[in-house]
Symmetry: C2
Subunit: 398 residues, 2 copies
């Protein structure tokens, strides 16, 4: 997958370069430019500590038309005091001067270790270099440049038909550790040439995020720099989507599918992960109960280590359900691993351990929980917890 | 420490034997008996899934005078349906017949893998054997018999002076993984010969638990079988403590100190732990804010892996604070690792990395966070997250 080069929607160019932040020489600066000012929408981390570059972006998504996004990886612009705010403005201003727009039309992203000032000279030189390399098929370089501990590049592109016009939705994502709902710790950028108002764009994005990036947990941690951004420049020429009409529903549905695709890639590429785990809670009394339970299972270290060890220790699943805070009847709970039922009405079944081991040896594992109390359901994606998670995170800065 | 044999308070005897549940031949059945019926108090897991033996105990602590506690390890009596309730009653009844009391005077504990019926014949034979071995210095054998993945035995004994009479408080604990506040996943038994009403005993125990076992997190998981029990048989001959007088305050204070000692041992012996980590939040605007923050830091896998890797990545600490849900001002936060300040007013300091590495190489590490907003504080204990945590938990059942 990582060799594939995606074509950007009409009117967008992108590039990714190495500017000297990452010690290993990998790309660490991404630039995305729209030929014309684009509508913008964003969803941000709920961490109350917020990075300086993120704060800049949050202030400039609303109202202004966006021409560019500059993102660096390897060192997050966070927790360095007022100098970090000045650095953010300086990067926006420098980008604006190079591409010829106002600094208020530039959004920023920044991800990596926090607490250290950004090397501004490197970033300026990187912006110069990235500007030279901008191209309609530079998306994959940009997608590389936003990666931190990711082992695979995460991109998707879909074409949709809006009242007879073909529009494209392209998305890139980075995220591998420190991953939990509420935009932690990922950077996702969606670009589309569809014509849509910023209000409708925000509505579609918020809804898609809720079913995708808000349904992934790798380790329960959440950083202060993270966000999902979307730009729409209207170049596809479709009638502008300004209300919840058929075009909106098509757009929102395809955006959600693209977001789920990227979200699952993030879970699958979780730090140290060897398996993608889907947790599906069905027949819950209400949506919140379903989600509280799927969330607790997805966060349980003991569930995740058991899956790494291919051990059908389903007791840890009902355990996590029990302390989730959700109200349910333990005596009606059924649990399946893959297609194998291991618990019926809250009581352990005698099951085929060899069959269970075979199921748990797969790359993708479904944990299904039936509460038999109602009709609500929820799905989350997570991964197993392996030695490599510890290895990666015990020496991240060095 | 594990060779030390503690003497039980007057009127108590205990023993621990192997009855055949643990495959490695280690002790797996503990019996504790009081010569005379004792007052009892208990604090239980808040998991809404509750083990069958635990439910028996919760029903029989209140009101009845307790003569014995039977605890097995290696296989928890949980999630096996109505048969589990019958098994619990059968074990209580068998214990009662052997020692000569009513089954309602017997409490139970059971810890280990869930979802499998207990081997009742083994347990009966174990109770016979344990009864033969009961002795005033058998506490340490009982403490061994309640262990699961614990690598050290956890016991304490303190003498206290109550109105001129010497009373003893003895405590044993097991707990190493699946550890988080609200009695997860531990079994603790305190025994005392002090004379105290069951109401005052419950008050002292609940208060002590809140400052000790409710302040330990190893992995955020919580099982359905766990509890802290306390028996008081009055053999010390002190005036019965029936109100919050000086004797009560002495008793409660010493019980709290003993509980904190055991709680710290649990954190230090966390599965795979190489370090004990104390998290101290000071100058918070209120107690809840202080605790929410200390709790989030103690649960953060990224903080815990960084400490394992001896990496002074303090950004992960302020990160965890930021997503804790607590309201605080990020711009007044100071953070210290050991005695070394690494963050001032929310901004990273340039600090001596060698000094930091030396601090993080110690067996016990203090993380101190100053919010500079008020006068409330909170302390939690946790441990680092190592490869061995994953190793232990990826193959627990096998």
């Amino acid at each position: 997958m990582s060799d594939k080069r995606y074509k950007l929607p009409l009117g967008f160019k992108a590039s990714g370069v190495h500017c000297g932040i990452k010690k290993n020489g990998n790309k660490d600066l991404a630039l995305i430019v729209s030929d014309i000012p684009a509508q913008a929408a964003g969803v941000y981390t709920k961490n109350i500590v917020k990075g300086h570059s993120l704060k800049w972006t949050m202030q400039h998504v609303k109202g202004s038309r966006v021409k560019a996004i500059t993102i660096n990886s390897g060192n997050a612009n966070a927790c360095v005091g007022p100098a970090g705010d000045a650095d953010a403005e300086l990067i926006a201003d420098y980008t604006a001067k190079i591409i010829g727009c106002d600094k208020n039309e530039v959004l920023l992203g920044s991800t990596g270790v926090i607490g250290f000032r950004l090397p501004i000279q490197n970033i300026k030189a990187g912006i110069d270099n990235a500007y030279e390399k901008l191209s309609a098929d530079g998306a994959s370089d940009a997608a590389s440049a936003i990666m931190t501990t990711d082992t695979i590049k995460k991109e998707i592109s879909v074409d949709i038909n809006l009242s007879g016009k073909t529009a494209t939705i392209y998305g890139m994502a980075k995220g591998s550790g420190m991953i939990h709902p509420d935009m932690a710790t990922l950077i996702v950028v969606f670009l589309t040439d569809a014509a849509i108002s910023d209000e409708m764009l925000q509505k579609a994005l918020s809804s898609a995020v809720n079913k995708s990036f808000n349904r992934v947990s790798i380790d329960g941690d959440m950083s202060e720099c993270d966000m999902v951004l979307m730009l729409a420049n209207g170049k596809a020429g479709n009638p502008v989507i300004e209300q919840e009409n058929d075009d909106f529903r098509i757009f929102a549905k395809e955006l959600e599918k693209a977001a789920i695709y990227l979200a699952k890639l993030i879970a699958k590429d979780g730090e140290g992960a060897t398996k993608l785990v889907e947790i599906r809670v069905i027949n819950a009394p209400d949506d919140n109960t379903a989600h509280v339970i799927s969330n607790a299972i997805s966060k349980s270290l003991l569930v995740k280590t058991a899956i790494f060890g291919q051990d059908a220790n389903w007791g840890r699943i009902i355990n996590a359900m029990g302390y989730s805070g959700a109200l349910f009847n333990p005596e009606t709970v059924d649990i399946w691993l893959g297609g194998l039922q291991v618990c019926k009405d809250g009581t352990g079944l005698v099951f085929d351990e060899e069959k269970a081991a075979e199921i748990l040896s797969r790359d993708e594992i479904l944990i299904a929980v039936d509460l038999k109390m109602g009709t609500s359901s929820d799905t989350m994606w997570t991964c197993d917890l392996s030695y490599d998670y510890v290895k990666i995170n015990s020496s991240y800065r060095s």
